[in-house]
Symmetry: D3
């Protein structure tokens, strides 16, 4: 199921049933004082493993670096350029296609707009010349539809109640007991050299309300919605 | 006020008061059977002129081409690559900065996510090395907050009730009397070679409900919100 | 006739007669104390409109930014890199071709050698893979053949007698009454960081001799020569 | 120790002692019928973890994709372009430097010459403008010095006795019981479209002679040599 | 005098007097049935050697490949992209500058407009960040001012009377006895896939009128004009 | 035999017998106090001429600039970026292929790993889309197999006994009588900004032991081995 654990022969054989390949995109990014830098990697990696099991697909190795805007200057964020990410996605898709893969689901744990545009742009350009069915999304496209009681003073976002809950469900030992509350920037639409000033907590939302229970429900919700969507999209 | 109508000397003199330069981004894109291909150009060009008048700024020449995903293969869409757009924005900002400009508002009439990411990405990279205050948005960031009775069967979007109304207010002679209704794609998150198949009407929303009156109110709403926001952001 | 004023359907229908598309390239560039920064935009835009009317073609939106060498550091010049311009031209031509356009006339108001090489280079690379008939020129290729009494002490060039006359014919309200005389650089073939020092007047020629009458004759001369040339080149 | 498991605050604190960051480069590449596709990932990832423990450093997330020449067309190889890899390394180093990291050891499990040149090239260009001490190598630079009885008919190489032994030591459950023998190409220095034809076994060497015991000794040898070298190079 | 024949020490010593470095640009290009493919290399290489002797400069190794438009598809033309040439020139100038060189004369034997724009563009971008005095030209900028009786039916150009004469003066053994006459294209300003069709003789002008005598005079004329110009430009 | 000395017609005719084209890659690089900067150019240029004579091939013009790592900052080294070199090789190969060439031997006098990877990378990418048989090597791949008594205290390398001998055989007038001994760096695998500090002699080996006699034998050895290899590889 994990491509890196299969031999060349096993991989070739697995491709005969035209499986979906799941390609998880993570990040190394500041997520507040309570969450690990790999938060955006742990979520899609776990999700892809579950989805692959559910629909009989394969999981490609995680891309653990992404593009970051507002958190770029915070300690621990490792930022790659949008062009680099896009080139990487195009190369991987090209290789998968050469191998005979025809269905890929690209799931990004990080939801920055420039980051996602790089992945989507790579996908769009690839399908113009390659016979591939591609589904591109961030698990947060689904996650934010999860019905959840939110603290109205702290609209939920990066590193907030939902994300903290999901990591509590996946890697509880990496989440700090003391959790912050944070808000987004006051100046809308401004692009500045020091965007981190607008996020003194490195996060948005009320993480004190996060629980592993909620995280498990959210993860289950996302998986379930995605299995349905994937089956519909790929006609399986 | 329009930079292309000023002489070099007049421009140099105008810069002494550290004015905001408005840089409008348009597009040449299919917008249904009822709207002109320049729909996304006419809106930000008119808006920038009004904003510049309101806050005493200058208007740079319109960039009339953009990046397009879902409408790329529709007749009349002229699509440029995200990389090209990004390079163009970086070059223009670099030149404006060399001229002494320190405040720029970049407003895009087209709201595609890859298109906007190109403009934002250019802005982010520029401020890292240039002393510039940049505000980047699409007028639809504001427009979609305009309170408006929407046909619940046709959620409003590209070429829909709001956009048609705005063009009716700006360039009524270019809007066809017969107007369509349209819906978005059924398959979510799929990237395909022929996305136009998902938009048989080239538009999303109920354009039959559009009126010039509504368009004028929307345009007024956007202008007013933006004047407030700009004054707040630039401390003026 | 203007592509941005047509709907998608009208554009598709117009293409059935295999029309020539005129693609005007302007600039935002210092042109002396007497001429507007958009001088190189106003000329090809007006010319393209007339040519399209004459031969039954379409006019694509103007590209209002170009590459500049000697005027790069003068107030009001907005310079884009040759690579950016070339990429833009390739993207636009690729899109026009995908739309079914097969004949394009690219006319640049700015005649800098690196600027023109970018446009020509884009054209050359495009025709290698696309079925397109392309004609590429600056209107000054034709304009400088216009018979005109020139002040022998001031050989005519950028912002000089001919160009000032043409703008007087097109946009008289934008031309200042007081007009300069200027000369080119003394040091030949040198590439320097501050080329503007060689052009203290920002222009070359004797603009005091310019008249709207002369400009109208020149514009008529250019249009007439080009109509003949276009008909010959495209066999119409 | 693993950066992705630390919070932003923990990472910032760890940097105060100016630690070495270990950056492992893996690959997804055909390694014969007996070894997993992630062979080149498992080795440097384990090695970096041990080295970091030994010298008190941190481990950055693994880059699991690389550039491949001779195995590019074999099932399971995912090949990225040298330019993509180089850009990725430059971006990561730039980010690490911005974070305050000053010492990085880049260890690649894959030893292809173009692949390594991409990593080295990125390192060289980065140190020209960044204050960084960089050590770049493949563990096979050291591994091939490990004294080992080799089958003279099968000179050892990719997927051979040494590599198979090392994976047997690290991930025995992923190594197949039946192991091949293979030889390199007969035509020297030729660059062809189908290099896989020269490697019918996907590997070079005699893997039947591999043992976990030998692999543990080799891994221990490499670690020990590198600890000495790292201490000498970084003066620790 | 030739940099490739000096040792590192000799070169370092020669730089102490701040000499001009001459950088010749040649080409490998079809020049009619009578002239060798290296025609554009032999001319600037000989000229640079003479100029360096005259003004006490150094000669860098010849760049023997260039960008070609109209002759691109003719047998023997080796065409490199404008971007490649530009990158090459930038790299060489950057290296010369790092070595301490401050004056460079770049002379191209090939005079194509895109080719020259690539060299000039590289020069312009380099001087923005490097302390360099650069003079960029093709020897044909000077050569075409050489007073010479021309066959009015065959305006002189590529591979014509002047160029043939110059090669007769430099490399007579490489010039064929039978020489052609040729004309340029009838369709002006068209960019086509097969420009060679417009030049059935691969040359423009009347080569039957060429003589070694004339070539020597032309070469002497060019050298003499350039020595004066160089002394003026570099204040020597 | 030299392409630059042939006419277009002669070249076209020569291609009818499907000859091998030899493409020599030189360098302009510090080689110690005793050897000229063109050392890496003289060797492959002479070798290619001999090989072409031996097997009936053609010789393309020498590329006299390459990529340099350890000698980059030494006086006289002219360094071009790996990307530039790669682009150049791709362009030349593409042009040769368009001319009808089907067999190319690329021989580099400079053996730096990033330099060679650029040439090999260009070759690999070209054969994917072009019908070409390519052989890529540095003559030092063969030269270092030449049996030669080496000073054990000074392992031979760049500018050492072997290379000095070869230049003594080819261009004795350019080799200084006084010759150095030198060693490589002590710190292994480090990438630094000032690698020249590790090579105070600019060379590695004992050049005092070099003789023209030895050089002639080495050159003969290389030629002979390569003729055999080329005949085998190209089936001639």
């Amino acid at each position: 199921m994990r491509i890196d654990e299969m031999t060349s022969k096993e991989f070739a054989k697995a491709l005969q049933s035209d499986p979906i390949v799941f390609l998880p995109f993570g990040a190394t990014e500041a997520h507040g004082a309570h969450l690990p830098l790999g938060t955006d990697s742990f979520q899609p990696e776990a999700l892809c493993a579950e989805l692959a099991e559910e629909v009989g697909g394969l999981v490609a190795p995680l891309v653990p670096y992404g593009q970051h805007s507002s958190t770029r200057n915070m300690p621990g964020t490792i930022d790659i350029q949008a062009e680099t990410l896009k080139a990487l996605v195009k190369d991987i898709l090209d290789s998968l296609h050469r191998n005979g893969v025809r269905k890929v689901v690209l799931i990004s744990g990080h939801a920055g707009s420039i980051h996602l545009a790089a992945i989507k742009g790579a996908a769009e350009e690839t399908v113009r010349s390659h016979d591939l069915q591609l589904m591109v999304l961030t698990d947060y496209d689904i996650a934010y539809r999860f019905p959840m009681p939110v603290n109205p003073d702290y609209p939920d976002g990066h590193g907030g109640m939902l994300e903290t809950s999901r990591i509590l469900a996946l890697r509880p030992e990496l989440v700090k007991a003391r959790r912050p509350r944070g808000k987004g920037p006051e100046q809308r639409y401004m692009t500045t050299r020091d965007p981190e000033r607008c996020y003194p907590q490195q996060m948005v939302g009320d993480a004190t309300k996060a629980t592993a229970e909620l995280g498990m429900q959210a993860n289950q919700f996302i998986k379930s919605k995605l299995v349905t969507l994937i089956k519909k999209n790929f006609g399986e």
